[in-house]
Symmetry: C2
Subunit: 300 residues, 2 copies
């Protein structure tokens, strides 16, 4: 089975206490795809401008990511400039956002991609996320990520979307903001009531909380001593989660636990380097090696 991801493909300028990098390949769909490709065929749906470096496109293709539905349009690519200050790696300070071609993005999907059963709506305007859903057949598993911007400014669009999806991924701040509950168990229950059966709350260095009607569980994060750049960690996490569930072909307690262990492992690689420096070269053998360390770390 394969997997469609809608989101952004961006050029990132990032500054962290470890240094600064310009024109990194970034965006929610790119980071997601770089992680999910380890498990399954990923079909990426996004837009870039004509100024987008060919090397990044070649790179994604070489990683086996299907770019049939990557639109290349006249104009400038989406750019994000952000900084992480001091020890707070959980919150990026956005210095600049240039939407460029993203301003008028209507996702398109090749005919053969419309019946793909697994879809992830990575972080992008919820109205665009809804547009993609309308292009698709009846996906078996729809995952959704969002961000504070949309929770604030497009709450009603987001709430309509919540009714259509199965799995919602949010960080703790977003979960609290959307649910208006501080306690994360209460927040998870409130989000469940908005529609999705499966609620995944990411707590950064503190790991993850999973909630559904039948069971709940939690894992700490893999301990990373030298965080370099957490940009894309959430998308990398989601890529591992959805990638594994797609490969497994079924969603149950066992596959969900395993998927979240993979997700946790993959995001720990992401934060150890700028952009995709650590995730792009990864092989499944390396992922499994660290996953076994993680399992030992969290075993009862």
């Amino acid at each position: 089975m394969s997997l469609v991801v809608l989101g952004t493909v961006a050029l990132d300028h990032v500054k962290t206490p470890s240094g600064a990098r310009r024109d990194l390949l970034g965006g929610s769909a790119s980071h997601f795809a770089m992680s999910a490709r380890l498990f399954t065929q990923v079909h990426l749906v996004a837009i870039v401008g004509e100024d987008f470096p060919q090397k990044h496109i070649t790179f994604l293709k070489q990683k086996g990511i299907d770019l049939t539905s990557l639109t290349i349009e006249k104009g400038k690519s989406f750019r994000w400039k952000g900084e992480y200050r001091g020890n707070d790696f959980n919150t990026a300070i956005t210095l600049a956002t240039e939407l460029g071609v993203l301003m008028n993005f209507s996702p398109r999907l090749a005919r053969h991609q419309r019946q793909i059963p697994n879809v992830f709506l990575a972080n992008i305007d919820p109205d665009i996320q809804m547009q993609l859903l309308r292009l698709m057949g009846r996906p078996r598993l729809i995952g959704l990520d969002s961000m504070n911007l949309w929770i604030n400014h497009k709450r009603s669009s987001l709430k309509r979307l919540m009714k259509k999806i199965h799995l919602f991924v949010a960080n703790d701040g977003e979960a609290r903001q959307l649910s208006q509950e501080h306690n994360l168990i209460k927040a998870a229950k409130a989000l469940r009531k908005m529609g999705p059966s499966y609620i995944v709350i990411k707590k950064g260095e503190h790991g993850v909380l999973f909630y559904c009607d039948q069971f709940m569980f939690s894992f700490p994060a893999f301990p990373v001593e030298h965080v370099v750049d957490p940009t894309g960690a959430g998308d990398t996490f989601a890529g591992g989660l959805m990638g594994y569930l797609t490969k497994a072909g079924q969603v149950n307690e066992q596959t969900l636990r395993r998927a979240l262990i993979y997700a946790t492992t993959l995001s720990s690689f992401n934060v150890e380097g700028f952009g995709m420096a650590k995730t792009a070269p990864l092989t499944m053998a390396q992922v499994k090696q660290r996953m076994n360390k993680l399992i030992k770390f969290i075993a009862v």
Copy 2:
């Protein structure tokens, strides 16, 4: 084997979003003992004033706690008045502290208690903690807890003490403050270098991180939906940890993991009620029942 705990026995006034209570039996040694008594004979070393309610003393005795070395002295008992505001249950706002008889406390220890092999120095002035150690034979396992006040004002006393102990328990803020490292793995390593072989960092609702030279592990906390009063949660945690290790009779990876699962379970009961409302009535069967839930919650 049995266990000595040195710390405070206090009268607490607590206000939380769930309500307010006056003259609760509190203090680091009381909460610790109420938890550790489920595993082993606990010998409490502390001081109270003549004003201390007899009902609290009777209550501790009824719970099987040995009060031979509880000094009752002329003067006022130690009182703490604190508040938890909004959703921040991790930080108590201290409104008032009346030291009373604690001002001139020199711990004493009955002869038969001096050879007890396990000791926990619960939160109290580090100079008093050192005094107790000098009264003891050669304890096999010495645990230590402290707080921001002593880290700020008695850092050198605390550092001397760190050289004498085996197991250090701190919350994340204290661990960062004493080690001057923000990353918790780095903090744990720095604390290890100060002396203790075993470092336990409590992260409140995010669980616990354990570090020693041979291995590391981490658990999330038991998910509590309705936090009522977290006062004493850290002491209750330490009581479960040291209580179980004392009962187990040996310190190794297996007993440490199990001890921290018990500790996590016990502190989850503590936060669900004011003072010891939830921990005092606990039976081992109830603890094991919740522990099994926790194990299911965190299983890989």
